[in-house]
Amino acid sequence: MSPSKMKNYRAASWDEPLVMQMGSEGRRGAILPSTEPGIVEVVGKGINLVSPSMRRDRLPILPELSEFEVERHYIHLSQQTMGMMGVSLFGTCTMKYNPRVSENLVYQPFISQLHPLQHEDTLQGVLEIVYRFDELLRELSGMSKFVFQAGGGADAAYTQTCITRAYHASRGQLGQRNEIITTAQAHPSSPATAAAAGFKVITLPLEADGYASVEALRAVVSSRTAALMVNNPDDIGIYNPHIKEWVDIVHEAGGLCFYDHANFNGLMTRVRAAELGFDACMFMLHKTFGGPKGGGGPAVGAYGCTEALVPFLPGPLIKKDANGKFVLEKEGPLSIGRVREFWGNVPVVIRAYAWTRAMGAEGLRDAANISVLANNYMEKRLLEIPGVTKGLPELTKRRLEMTRYSLGELTAETGVSTLDVQNRMTDFGVDAYWLSHEPWFIPEPFTPEAGELWSVEDIDYWIDVLAHVCQEARDTPEIVKSSPHNQVVHKMDGSGLNDPSKWATTWRAYLRKYPDRTR
């Protein structure tokens, strides 16, 4: 295979000021409808309707711009954002195609201009889609009911911890059951939400075959066990073949089992969480199901559970009545109430439903096959690059959708770190790769995920860029260390980011801390 030509890429850079540095006094970007005389006659001047103690005296210091200036500014910023417009094999996030047809649909008034408290008679369209999507996820997981209130994957994990609390409380066991078990490679959202919910967190260590051992689990399970929260596969990409046994062990001890199904892509149409024995699972609609990332949401962690846990679900629940009408059912007495206002990021659910229907069962299977194949294809090619090694060298079995690699050897040899390589790759139009969650068990990690979206050409280009940069690390390490050179801006100096006297999360803080530097 002859390597791809490195693209002569250069990011747009508009030398764009901050919006707060722009504008001119009295300029307007938006005008309000003027109050009709008939209204003024009745109520007088608005400001007099505010009690004097609560009248704002100085206007906020916001930019004063024309409408076009605002539009142009943010278009410049958007062009200065790579997003998925290069090649992004970002691990753990399953970079999917985000079908444009759904964007058009969700910005129509029949979604955008709905109020969640409208009478259900006026919400039949949206309720039908959400209900149908619940049905699709039930089919995919074997669970009994899904809710979409959680505003992301972590929020679905939090939903699980709330349900764990309510479940054990309802059986009078919560006082005793205050431990949640997870693994070192589980996503941080599992231990973090467990802790936030008030549980003690027990973390099983990663072992050489890519997961924690049955023995390690047995050693910590007890009558204090409230739940197991685990993803499978995790970033290492290996499917834990003992997962059914794990579930049995935890169930025997009286705990609940939650399947963080964020890495569902490689498993689609092969396993059903409920059949593996799990009490609940969550799907990431903004990842596996084609929802756009949005730079970090709006997201949905679709949370589904077996019949036994349904009474604990947050409300309201969407049901179909005997006449085929869709209704919003108020939550029952055991419900955890709410983890977030209303019933979720509805437009994301609509997109996910559309994506799933566009794929069909056959398409989902193809996507799983292609993703897993692409990962193994990449592995073959990546390991041919000197300096790239497997994250867990002893693992020989085929891995699922993504796998963690190490640049440790390259760093040892050249002093160029995985962060340097990540930066430098962006100089060729390649989005930053995923490194690893904290703490790093593997030196200089990186975790690419090819998914089913990207063409072989894209994947090859990605690999070739990596190979090129690894070679640069040997030939001209300074170029890599001082990178990027073709990006919007140059390498950030992060030294002040955690220093209270230097950080500035707002322009007013910056103006105060750096009075001299401001133009």
Binding site: R270, L373, V489, W503, A509
Partner: protein, 472 residues
């Protein structure tokens, strides 16, 4: 290739390598002869036996569009009807440029990036935080959290960590939906870290926090007093300064929840004692989206004490290797759950970052005078509506003064329930106010009406006529 179905042996538009050539090429290079080999590590008894029925595949975009459109058209939107529902999700006008930006693929698709390669998005986030900081009068602002309620929950937990006290006071007027969220952030009594929520009464005459009851419940065991301004019931807490003073006297933190659209005319919370400001971002350029437009924020003074308790990510200005160039990097990443797992401050994850861009655009469009004007417009229109409704025989507006955007219409003199009246309004093409009857029985048969800048005099006339007819 992999397709089993003989009727559609064609590549799928969402999958570049679903054509025969690419798939087989990858198989060859990877040294795989049968795709099932790739799944060797899944034990056979884990593999499901039951087929998947997901309905007919709609891989043709035109079929998919038609299918979706046919179903979604069954709803009646707030453009089809005249809407007076608010209650935590508000109908404001969304400038077209907000939608333009959040649908641009570059903003829509990023996942993480680097400060150099997703620079534009990071700058937009910084502009979100900076402008919001101006509105609320605070210098440290985190990237958005899921919602107003979750912002409140996190803020309460910040206060608990700061004070090591485990009780918070909240007024009776709190949004029940938001309260339910906050409750879920306070754990349960059986567990360590449980936070007790104590409700403070409101004045019958004004709807404002009852200062006497507050004093009674305050003490050195109180971590925080939390209140919204304006409250869920629309009431402006004009004694906010006194509330803060009382709370601070006990060493409690003051957390104020705001609707930032009010802050062109209402005093920013920083000026009446708020330590932590939370609120909604939905009114700032995000559609209601059937409740899927909600978003929240947390802001404080730029003091290390507070900054070190944030559960969010936040971007900070930073320099680059080139003199004079600005970049934006994550500050205090360590303390997030990404940085420290269960040792982190609560947790974070995907949130509603895209809406932060809509918010930034919205605030830039509005500018100082736009916020002044929209606040004025809303307060005038809502008071006009209240006054007109109050004059309908048999109807009464509770607390007809001192509110912003929302107010309570009481139907006690009518023989009909709010639900019935709302049903009649619906037939006339109007979505009446949120029924409060079961959530606030002490207010009788009441409904919470929301009037914003989008409601014209004519719309309000129409409502008044419809109400007159409906209560007949």
């Amino acid at each position: 290739m992999t397709k089993a179905s003989p009727t559609e042996p064609i590549a799928h538009p969402y999958m570049a390598n679903s054509n025969v050539g690419n798939f087989q090429h990858m198989m060859k290079v990877a040294g795989v002869s049968n795709v099932e080999e790739l799944f060797e590590q899944i034990p056979p008894d884990h593999i499901t036996k039951r087929e998947f029925n997901l309905g007919p595949v709609l891989s043709s975009e035109s079929s998919l569009y038609r299918h979706m459109n046919d179903i979604l058209r069954k709803s009646t939107s707030c453009e089809d009807s005249l809407n007076f529902l608010g209650a935590g999700c508000w109908q404001h006008y969304v400038p077209a440029i907000c939608d333009e930006m959040v649908t641009r693929a570059e903003f829509l698709t990023p996942v993480w990036g680097t400060p150099s390669s997703d620079h534009g998005r990071s700058q937009a986030w910084f502009e979100f935080a900076s402008q919001l900081g101006e509105l609320v009068g605070m210098e440290f602002v985190g990237l958005p959290v899921y919602s107003f309620g979750t912002a409140g929950g996190h803020a309460i937990r910040m206060a608990v960590r700061l004070t090591k006290r485990f009780k918070v006071l909240l007024p009776r007027s709190l949004d029940p939906e938001r309260l339910a969220v906050i409750k879920s952030y306070c754990s349960l009594p059986e567990l360590a870290g449980y936070i007790e929520i104590v409700s403070v009464a409101i004045e019958e005459a004004s709807g404002r926090i009852n200062l006497e009851d507050l004093k009674k419940k305050l003490g050195t065991d109180v971590a925080a007093v939390y209140f919204d301004n304006p409250s869920y019931l629309g009431v402006v807490e004009s004694e906010a300064k006194e509330v803060s003073r009382l709370a601070h006297e006990c060493g409690a933190e003051v957390i104020v929840g705001v609707d930032p659209i009010s802050l062109g005319i209402l005093t920013p919370p920083s000026e009446y004692g708020a330590d932590i400001v939370v609120g909604t971002t939905q009114p700032l350029g995000v559609h209601m989206n059937c409740g899927g437009g909600v978003g929240g924020f947390i802001a404080t003074r730029d003091e290390e004490r507070y900054a070190r308790e944030y559960p969010t990510l936040q971007v900070s200005l930073a320099s680059t290797s080139v003199e004079g160039e600005m970049a934006f990097g994550l500050t205090l990443f360590e303390q997030s759950s990404y940085g420290s797992r269960e040792q982190g401050k609560d947790w974070t994850g995907n949130s509603v970052y895209l809406w932060a861009i809509a918010n930034a655009v919205y605030m830039s469009l509005m500018g100082p005078q736009g916020f002044r004007d929209i606040g004025t417009s809303i307060i005038e229109r809502s008071h006009f509506a209240a006054s007109r409704i109050d004059s309908i025989p048999g109807l009464k507006v509770l607390w007809a003064e001192g509110f912003f955007k929302e107010f309570i219409v009481n139907f006690d003199k009518s023989t009909l329930d709010v639900e019935v009246i709302n049903g009649r309004l619906r037939k006339l093409g109007i979505f009446g106010g949120k029924d409060l009857t079961s959530d606030f029985p002490e207010l009788g048969k009441s409904a919470l009406y929301c009037v914003t800048e989008i409601h014209t005099e004519e719309d309000i006339d129409r409502l008044v006529q419809a109400l007159e007819e409906a209560v007949k």
